[in-house]
Amino acid sequence: MSYLVAAYSVVWVVVSIYIFTLIRRNRDLDKTVETLEARIARLESEGLDRTE
């Protein structure tokens, strides 16, 4: 019986490892979004000084 439980838990462990890699990739995407926003903000402020 314990083998059955072990096997089932292994399946969920493997699947959850993959889901965690997906989540980690999501976090990387969010980070790049933030850097992009920062660069855009800098560009806008730069652009504003020039037009004034």
Partner: protein, 233 residues
């Protein structure tokens, strides 16, 4: 990640079949005469081999489509499919020994199916890892597409060779082979449900991974356009 209706539909279908498969495999299907309850591992051990196959042949299809049309979209799809195929292969490789121990008394036996799954696992680990070692981004999809096709072509030969090997050298006495015991109708239903559940899981994970890759591509495009703008100023 906004969930389209299609995603929601697949997700609910997945949870329903997963529940059904669990109930069927654990309660309704009768325990195997020889191995008792341990035989229930078999349902999703075999159930997860099927989406593994599906994943690897999709890698071939996606890679062929990429080489034909050079559309990055196809490369992302076959990469996602390769990754999830690897996940299912790992499931088969981990549940296999857990099931082999009580039934055959040994953690690992060079049974035809297990050996071929190991080879499959190595082939597609190579496919996924090769990408990290190719520096030139424009070459990466093309090179891994070719490896994807060759890898998927090897799969049937791996299975044929291990089966041919096994018919020629019949195994020493094994306690009950997995086909032992008459196939009770409930057993087959449990097996089919497990297969369906895992295939739906494959589709669900695959869709998430593909949308994620596409989001990353869109971000990269934005990055280049931004660096172009920064050049102007």
């Amino acid at each position: 990640m906004k969930l389209s209706i299609k995603d929601l539909l697949i997700f609910t279908l997945l949870t329903v079949t997963m529940e059904l498969a669990l109930i069927w495999a654990l309660q309704i299907a009768p325990p195997d005469r020889m191995q008792g309850d341990v035989q229930r591992i078999f349902y999703f051990h075999l159930g997860s081999i099927w989406p593994g196959f599906l994943a690897f042949f999709y890698v071939m299809y996606g890679s062929a489509r990429y080489l034909a049309g050079r559309d990055l979209h196809w490369d992302r799809k076959s990469l996602a499919s390769g990754e999830i195929g690897l996940v299912f292969c790992t499931i088969v490789l981990t549940t296999g020994p857990i099931w082999a121990k009580p039934t055959w008394g040994v953690w690992w036996s060079w049974d035809a199916r297990l050996t071929s799954t190991v080879v499959l696992w190595l082939i597609f680990l190579g496919y996924i890892n090769l990408r990290h070692y190719i520096d030139d981004e424009s070459k990466r999809p093309r090179i891994s597409a070719i490896l994807g096709i060759v890898g998927a072509c090897v799969v049937p030969f791996v299975y044929m060779s291990t089966r041919l090997f096994e018919t020629q050298h019949p195994k020493p006495v094994i306690m009950g082979d997995e086909d032992s015991g008459i196939k009770d109708p409930n057993m087959t239903i449990a097996l089919v449900l497990a297969m369906a559940a895992f295939t739906l899981l494959y589709i669900c994970l695959w869709r998430i991974a593909v949308t994620q890759f596409q989001a990353r591509d869109r971000l990269d495009k934005l990055k280049t356009r931004l660096s172009l703008l920064e050049d102007e100023y």
